[in-house]
């Protein structure tokens, strides 16, 4: 009897319990709610540093450019919700379902091409299976060419340049330096590392056939304790430039080992800046480390960009603006909303095709309709402490742009055969 009573008593509280666990019990979106964007990136674990700072930057950009100026679509605010995918493809899908359950229609992600391609596939499938609950995928950093190539999707938009575009710029810069005759390529043993190596070799062969590739090395990702043995090989190969697609701990360790060995050659990288890397490379890496990217670095001349960066630094003194293109992403998204007067992902996606906006650095960005790849000028910057207005990691060191390629020269033909859904 007692048990029965207490069971009834417990049952009465279940609805209340469910309200507390509202996420778990599901919810619905209302018309005048804020426009919500799910930011699916690592917020915990090894890769959390980049995901965490990406979230802060996206929310800050939303506040700075829109929410503080009255919102979009007649006063609706933009709210960014960070969903932790722990760097895993499966967890990303879990978080995608959470976003869909909460009625979110836009997903922003970018850390890791494996995760991005899993998300792109999952969203493509979800939209096909549930045409009334469609979701849009805005990719701000995953650079595998396949995402806007063979595996392109109508629902996926990429705001970063893909790795082949970046490699084209990098090899042009190398080719323009007559002192470079021997190049060593080293990378992490996975698709991106291999793609970087293959692209570097084929592009250099086309641009400067006299340059000899003296090494094409792959090392296991995240497993190498000490890069000195690799550096020994680099030294004995007589290389006078190094290309690497390494990121995170592997980038720092490789850079330090090269510098410690006294090897004084340019090191061309994709990701050797910010999140502690700049501070760790410090004085020793000065004028040696170069980086290819699409975010114009120092010296900042544009007032919008300067004011934006200063406002961000005032709010988060220990963080840096590492992804200015998150602002471009919001620009295109909100412009599409205002143009169509709707938040429907299909309408937005259609409006964003072949859209052109002027980004916060004052450059024109074009979103190609064929494959949803953004085109903008690309740059090579050098790691130094001279002429640095906005440094990285508060270290005094930062990136200074020394070579640029206009957007028109970065365009390559699209290989995307897009499957376009009906309204």
């Amino acid at each position: 009897m007692n048990i029965l009573k207490s069971t009834v008593w417990l049952l009465r509280y279940i609805p209340q319990f469910c309200v507390t666990l509202a996420v778990f019990c599901g919810g619905q979106a209302f018309a005048q709610d804020p426009i919500r964007i799910a930011f699916i990136d690592p917020q915990s674990g090894t890769f959390a540093a980049t995901g965490e700072s990406g979230y802060l930057q996206l929310q800050f950009a939303a506040d700075y450019f829109y929410n503080d100026k009255g919102g979009v679509l007649g006063g609706r605010k933009i709210e960014v919700i960070a969903l932790d995918n722990k760097g895993s493809a499966a967890d990303s899908q879990q978080q995608l379902r959470r976003a869909i359950s909460e009625g979110i229609q836009y997903v922003v992600s970018g850390n890791g091409s494996a995760v991005a391609s899993a998300l792109s596939t999952a969203i493509e499938r979800h939209n096909r299976r549930n045409p009334d609950q469609r979701v849009l995928f805005l990719n701000y950093a995953a650079v595998d060419p396949i995402l806007t190539g063979a595996d392109c999707s109508f629902w996926h938009f990429r705001f970063d340049a893909h790795s082949d575009m970046k490699m084209d710029v990098m090899t042009s810069h190398i080719a323009s330096n007559p002192d470079i005759h021997k190049v060593y390529v080293i990378g992490q043993d996975y698709s991106f590392g291999k793609a970087v190596g293959d692209a570097a070799i084929s592009m250099l062969a086309a641009k400067r056939p006299d340059i000899e590739i003296v090494g094409n090395e792959l090392h296991p990702i995240g497993q190498v304790k000490d890069f000195t043995p690799y550096v020994t090989k680099i030294v004995s190969s007589g290389a006078d430039a190094i290309i690497t697609g390494n990121w995170g701990g592997d980038m720092v360790a490789l850079g330090r080992s090269i510098i410690d060995a006294g090897l004084d050659v340019p090191i061309y990288t994709f990701y050797a800046a910010y999140d502690g890397i700049t501070a760790t490379l410090g004085e020793a890496g000065k004028n040696k480390i170069r980086l290819v990217h699409n975010d114009y670095a120092n010296p900042v001349t544009n007032d919008v960009r300067r004011a934006y960066t200063e406002a961000f630094k005032a709010k988060f003194p220990h963080k840096d603006i590492t992804q200015p293109r998150l602002a471009t992403l919001l620009q295109m998204l909100t412009l599409a909303m205002e143009e169509t007067g709707s938040t429907d992902p299909f309408a937005i996606a259609t409006a964003m095709e072949d859209m052109r906006v002027t980004n916060i650095t004052g450059e024109e960005v074009w979103m190609r309709g064929e494959d949803h790849q953004a085109f903008q000028p690309l740059y090579i910057s050098v790691h130094t402490d001279e002429n640095v207005v906005f440094d990285a990691d508060n270290s005094g060191f930062g990136l200074v742009t020394e070579f640029s390629v206009p957007a028109a020269d970065t365009i390559s033909p699209s290989s995307c055969n897009m499957n376009r859904p009906q309204q």
Partner: protein
Amino acid sequence: MFKFAVWIIFAIVIVLLPQFFTSLLSVSILNQMAIAIVFALSYNMLLGQGGMLSFGHAVYFGLGGFMAVHALLGIEDGDYFFSVTLIPLVGGLFGLLAALFIGSFSTHKAGTVFAMISLGVGELIAASSLILVSFFGGEAGVSGDRTYGPTFFGYDFAQDIQVYYLAAAWMFIATLAMYLFTQTPAGRMANAVRDNPERAEFIGYSARRVRLISFVMSGFFAGIAGGLFAVNYEILTEQNLNAVTSGNVLLMAYIGGLGFFIGPIIGAVVLTLMNSVLSHYTTLWMLYLGIMFVLTVMFLPNGLTGFLMMHRTPWHLGKIRLLIKPYIVTSIPGAVFALSLVAMVEMAHSSEAEFVFLGASFNSSGIVSWGVLIAIALGSFIALRRSLPALREAWAQANAIDSGEQK
């Protein structure tokens, strides 16, 4: 009879659950739970029942899953023609084969040797999965589509809810099968070999063969879990067979309680919930998980289930109500203490100036906020310490068999 009823109730519960939790997210959490339950139970066949500590159980989960994805791809390409409902079996059989091969040399010894071989094999397979791209797909993994192939009574498994019923059915069958396995002579001998291999040898059983049987069965069920994972997520990556996944399943089984059949089920449910609910509220959830794990090992060596089972004696004595009041008296300051610590941790971690915790707003650099929290923590800690003797007293009373009183 009682046991039979338990299984019926279990079946009813899993059928009814999606009626209460209807959102896409809750269904996908339920799917995740079903997979985790099978995986954790298969792990407990090794550690709980067989006494073999494995640091590489994800290998069988992952290999089974990868094979299942390849089977999905085969269905898609028209190479095979069978229903998606049978995919978990493909995973299971491949997990079994893998376990048979690796078990043939790793089950010679139990204890540290076994643990170390499992660690080595786990690292080897995880590392080679990034190198052998044609089977494992590198770090991007392999993805398939579950909606091809013949429909199953009109189900095409496009929606998650249909996958739930598939996963729940497999989970029920696997759980039942694993339970029945513990009742077979092989399952009983696994316990005997765990406790005393010499004696088991004396009565004519080869300890090695008994271990191998448990190991292979465990690989089979881990493979089924991997197959379910393949159907649910339609993708497998290197992360599904690396050390993190192996560590997770150890955590689930241990926090749930190794010594009980139901333990890993509870562990799987609790950790899956923590993983998806807690991680939504704080980025520090891994820290809390670590603390919880260490505290569990220190204070609840038999896991959460062990803690619940401690109340069997008072329950049978009819004295469980003696504990209610002291539990409440202890748990209130306990919860306040824990929450105030959490608040301090979160506040220290917060990068924004204003910090909101449970509806209360704090100034994360303000001395007042810190002072208030420290005062609350200290006060509740003292209250907690004060309440403990009464709890101990009540516990002793509740467990005491008084001769005068009727049960």
